[in-house]
């Protein structure tokens, strides 16, 4: 124990220990830096394992030497509290610093400093070692719009801008109109959305050329599928949740059966079903478009998950709420709509947000029926003979894209959660 005590600072000699300790920590970091980037190693004479762990040992001694409670130096105090409160944590801190040092500079180098974005062909990328963002640039339109004809991309853009515009109309509703806001979003908005997408993106009338759904793709398809999925799975899930909590046995068992069935099977088999099995269940002359079948399957699937989340909220409400509503003479639907559901839904905002996130993340699965959104387009671009070997760039691009969408959604749900939070 004695030699460890030598390394322990006291308030008397702390200044000296602080200088030596900080110095040692910097030496250890510098050593890793030299080893990994300049291939210079000062301690090759030491045996293998000791040589390998030398920076860690030096750094640990350094951290040991500056670890003193109430040192009088606020910065050192903060460091000691947050990353250096015992030897184990100091070791972990060092490992993370070293790993960051080893990983981040090469990654940045690859992604930014040595990357290429100029030019329009693969040859532009041949010169450098870094990432080839030219590939993303050239394929960007495909990733966004799929195989949709280039001349008609304005139709998708216009449709989305109009839809966003209509979504904002709800915000502008004031006064008397405000009581219709739920009605507007629940019934009127989906109809508008369907009409816009049907006439503008699909076309076929008003002088717009018809584009079949096979050509749709890319991020816009992700948006269309998730949009309709979100809009329709929510009311269906709400009805199922009410059904599962119903006092009427037949309704309850049907709801339970439905929910447990869809929750028990993977989405990919549901999509399989919608593509190969569902046509068998329709009259032979009926034709339902592939995209509509897929969206319907996703809605039926996610509704079961939404139902379970909402059921959690319903169960969390105290009985008193039901009793109070009933004692006011409210009927079942009046009670649910004006008393129970508003409170229950407020409680389950995080859960619903998670389900919606899952829905967005599940959209790439529509590849099983031959529709390709962003990930599907990536697979297509990757196998293009002109652009072989740039899979990594594509995946990183799509990851960042999805991450941004999902992160924004989860942040928005946290904002909603705060906004509707009431003291209970």
């Amino acid at each position: 124990m004695a030699n460890i005590n030598i390394l322990k600072p006291t308030s008397a000699n702390f200044q000296t220990y602080l200088y030596i300790g900080t110095g040692l920590i910097f030496v250890s970091i510098f050593d890793v830096f030299l080893r990994s980037f300049f291939n210079i190693n000062f301690s090759t004479s030491l045996p293998g394992i000791l040589n390998f762990f030398l920076p860690l040992i030096i750094g640990l001694i350094g951290f040991q030497m500056i670890r003193l409670e109430y040192s009088g130096n606020s910065i050192v105090d903060k460091i000691n509290q947050s990353v250096n409160n015992n030897t184990f944590n100091a070791g972990l801190t060092l490992v993370i610093i070293f790993l960051t040092l080893l990983v981040i500079p090469p990654a940045l180098n690859w992604m930014i400093f040595e990357a290429t974005i100029s030019g329009n062909t693969k040859e532009a990328c041949a010169a450098t070692e870094g990432a080839c963002w030219t590939y993303i640039k050239v394929w960007f339109r495909r990733f966004m719009y799929g195989m949709y004809p280039n001349d008609f991309h304005w139709r998708i853009n216009t449709a989305f801008i109009t839809l966003i515009g209509f979504a904002f109309v709800g915000y502008l509703m004031r006064g008397k109109l405000k009581s219709y806001i739920t009605f507007y979003y629940a019934i009127f908005y989906p109809i508008i959305a369907f009409i816009i997408i049907n006439f503008l993106i699909s076309g076929g009338s008003f002088g717009l050329e018809w584009v079949e759904t096979n050509a749709w793709g890319g991020l816009s398809l992700t948006f269309i599928v998730s949009f309709f999925g979100l809009i329709f799975c929510f009311p269906l899930g709400m009805i199922l949740a009410l059904g599962r909590r119903s006092e009427l046995p037949i309704i309850r068992y049907i709801s339970i059966g439905y929910i447990e069935f869809w929750r028990g099977v993977p989405l990919i088999t549901v999509l399989f079903m919608s593509s190969v099995m569902f046509p068998m269940f329709l009259p032979s002359d009926a034709f339902v478009d592939k995209l509509i079948r897929v969206i319907a399957a996703i809605i039926l699937f996610e509704a079961a998950y939404v139902a379970e989340v909402i059921r959690g909220g319903l169960q969390a409400l105290p009985r008193g709420q039901y009793d109070a509503a009933k004692s006011l003479g409210m009927g079942y639907w009046k009670m649910q709509i004006f008393v129970i559901l508003p409170q229950a839904l407020k409680l389950v905002i995080p859960g619903i947000a998670n389900t919606f996130l899952a829905l967005v993340k599940d959209t790439p699965l529509i590849f099983v029926v031959g529709l390709s959104e962003v990930v599907g387009m990536l697979q297509m671009a990757k196998t293009n003979p002109k652009w072989l070997g740039y899979a990594m760039e594509g995946y990183i691009f799509a990851s960042i894209l999805f991450w941004a969408i999902c992160y924004a959604m989860s942040k928005y749900s946290q904002y909603l959660e705060l906004k509707y939070k009431t003291e209970r």
């Binding site: 947050s82 993977p266 989405l267 269940f281």
Partner: protein, 383 residues
């Protein structure tokens, strides 16, 4: 009277609606099948499948039946799920605890890991590992050994194969050890309750678990040979490692992606569970004189596990269902072998899709029933 009618009418309407939907589908299916001259039935399961599967745990080739092909797919699904569950638990627990660490760097690294991996679609992650990350590995002939005897190459991960002789005796010896441990634990509990004496149960258990199998080795009843992977030339430019066990890259990519993705959810469950145990419990336990180890074992863990296990099981279930994404990178799981190849060959959409769905459904329902039973068992019995 009116109250009863009020109860019956909605139920009747719902029932009629559901029956009408089912009836509509059944009649259409009947008509469609008659039109195409297909008859409904599961007899095709006994027919010769005549397709090969790349990776199989049991002996299988094209001459076996479709039922056997189904079994191959099911076993592959279970293999991926079990491996994924093991790894996602290990990673998830580490990350979950790291998120509670007092160390600022560790806490935030873990938080970033969770934020990133759970916000990227699983399919994209599987593609990333399979098409980008694992494709960057070296060819077998240029591979440096990993841990001395294993080789991580672009064609898969080659590990030594264990060749057992009389493996069943080893299993029996372990079983015997487990049974005796149960007896010793009961005896120890009785001793503790009656006389207040303690015996080191854990040490004895570990000892027994080591000694019993060791005896079978020493006496020569069980023998173990290790077959190391050896580089073998197939043709002028093509090499593989023979003798050892080869893990195909599809399986590697799938297990990596599934466990890294699900680990983020497991980590959140673990964090919520540990945070859910109130501080007062720990202080109360300390004040009645329990040691830190006893506090963790007898007070914190039982309460934390009660919060952690139900949502974690749900995640395991999700992982099992997500393993069906294997079809995207051609790992021969249930969906690819059965709902893919077999369906293409036989064209029996209704039968095959229904069997596949029923399999997953059975798996899910079995686990949720088990979970409900467990939840009831561990629920706090409040007076």
């Amino acid at each position: 009277m009116s109250h009863r009618i009020k109860r019956i009418i909605p139920q009747l309407l719902t029932l009629l609606f559901v029956l009408a939907v089912i009836g509509f589908f059944t009649i259409n299916a009947q008509l469609n099948m008659d039109e195409r001259g297909i008859d409904f039935g599961y007899g095709f399961l006994n027919q010769e499948s005549s397709f090969d599967v790349q990776f199989s745990l049991i002996e299988y080739d094209g001459s076996h039946s479709y039922a056997k092909a189904y079994l191959v797919g099911l076993l592959n699904t279970i293999l991926v799920s079990v491996l994924g569950i093991i790894f996602c638990t290990i990673i998830g627990v580490i990350i979950g605890i790291a998120r509670l660490s007092p160390n600022y760097l560790i806490r935030n690294t873990a938080a970033w890991y969770v934020e990133f991996f759970r916000n990227v679609p699983l399919l994209l992650q599987i593609f990333f590992w399979y098409y980008a990350a694992l494709r960057a590995l070296p060819l077998p002939e240029n591979t440096e050994p990993l841990f001395g005897v294993t080789y991580l190459t672009v064609k898969g991960y080659y590990i030594p194969r264990l060749i057992w002789e009389n493996f069943d005796i080893l299993v029996y010896s372990i079983l015997a050890a487990v049974i005796s441990i149960v007896f010793i634990r009961n005896y120890a509990r009785k001793l503790q309750e009656e006389k207040g004496e303690q015996i080191p149960v854990l040490l004895i258990s570990i000892g027994l678990l080591l000694i019993f199998p060791a005896i079978t080795f020493v006496t020569g009843m069980v023998q173990l040979e290790v077959a190391l992977p050896v580089l073998k030339q197939l043709s002028k430019t093509s090499f593989i490692y023979a003798e050892g066990l080869s893990v195909p890259p599809e399986l590697l990519a799938l297990v990596l992606a599934l466990s890294l993705y699900t680990a983020t959810f497991v980590a959140e469950c673990v964090r919520a569970g540990v945070q859910g145990v109130s501080k007062g419990q720990k202080e109360a336990a300390a004040s009645i004189g329990l040691t830190p180890n006893q506090i963790l074992k007898l007070v914190i863990m039982p309460q934390a596990l009660r919060i952690i296990i139900p949502p974690t099981t749900n995640q395991y279930l999700n992982l099992t269902k997500n393993s069906s994404l294997a079809a995207a990178i051609a790992y021969p799981d249930l969906v690819l072998v059965f709902a893919g190849t077999a369906l293409m060959q036989t064209g029996r959409a209704i039968e095959i899709v229904s069997i596949t769905m029923l399999t997953y459904l059975t798996l899910s329902l079995a686990i949720s029933l088990l979970m409900n039973w467990y939840n009831k068992k561990i629920a706090i019995k409040e007076k």
